[in-house]
Symmetry: C2
Subunit: 230 residues, 2 copies
Amino acid sequence: MIVERSGSVQITTSVMGRNDRFAALNRECIRAAGIFALNLISSPGAGKTTLLEAMARRYGGRMAVIEGDVRTRRDAERVEKAGSRAFQIETGGACHLDAEMVGKAMETLDLPGSGVRLLVIENVGNLICPSGYDLGEDMKVGILSIPEGDDKVLKYPSLFSRISVLLISKTDLFPHLDFDVKRAVMECRSLNPDVRVFTVSAKTGDGMEGFFGFIDEAAESASTRRGSMP
Amino acid sequence: MIVERSGSVQITTSVMGRNDRFAALNRECIRAAGIFALNLISSPGAGKTTLLEAMARRYGGRMAVIEGDVRTRRDAERVEKAGSRAFQIETGGACHLDAEMVGKAMETLDLPGSGVRLLVIENVGNLICPSGYDLGEDMKVGILSIPEGDDKVLKYPSLFSRISVLLISKTDLFPHLDFDVKRAVMECRSLNPDVRVFTVSAKTGDGMEGFFGFIDEAAESASTRRGSMP
């Protein structure tokens, strides 16, 4: 049993070391291209793709998307239809994206010189496993949708302690559900005092301008860091 | 790299072999006690605990619940308040329950002779990782909630191909969301032709009688198999 456990730890460390090396490469490419990169993480069905459709309608060719799903190409098709380029990763059984998968997708998207300023990686729908994998992104964005309930932050601390932005989504459903925004935000800040919070409905557009303003500013600042690189 | 990969496969096989041995033990105990056991799997916030509260109000002391969460004891407290015994497993970082954790919880619950006829294991909220772990249950029940969207079945085939029952939950939200029940059921049957389907709202009670009838029958049949055991 001890052999089994120590073997397991060794493998985990080795997998994470390998992932971190690929993440560092991705980060280098992203910075060199002057791109701002987000890693979008949520439960299945929290509204990641609907949010990306709204972003694609706004950013068009200035945004590219890497879609992660266990199976199907449905999400990439939706984003492309809304106006941005998208590359679908089907992970097979895997419950998260890793930096190597994302690096290969970035190569295919051929970002440098493409006019893309914003890269969004839509992770596999899962509040647990994706949070531990650095993909080379600038920020992790966690989405919590109103129907999931306001008690989820402390249940999934590994994600909510690591995100830079909390998006509370599907606010159009407020009239039909009990969800205490103050509780969710307070619990998130207890893990993560500096988290930025936006409440949005990608369906009605409610709150989206604030989120877009934040993205515009971050992308602008990422494009200037290119010049400052050695 | 090859060493890393082969090591990884070896460990996975060893972990699953270990899990299967514990699952067989759990199954033996469950059968010997004449109990019917369900393994409830869904995304975070699909309504597992609200369903269990409704079941606790109906079955009271005849039901016991094992709650799986990464963190917090919130779900066990809700179920106990509604009238059934509950044992909370906090998995720490783990994204699924395994049979060893469940076996320990069963020991603590001390089921034989307790009057419990129905054991429900609420797995960690995750559509991917829990589906591969046998816990010794009689049936896996998959919950898909209306707000998650009708496209989720084919995205998460490892779960939806293994369940005996599909519960489409939160039907009270039908008027506010587009969800094509026929599509979800058809896609689930394409993976899993014999799946039983119930559409329910644990909040309003809509459809719950059909689901309770199914449980009553299965529990009745489980209680008689005790007598037929060697």
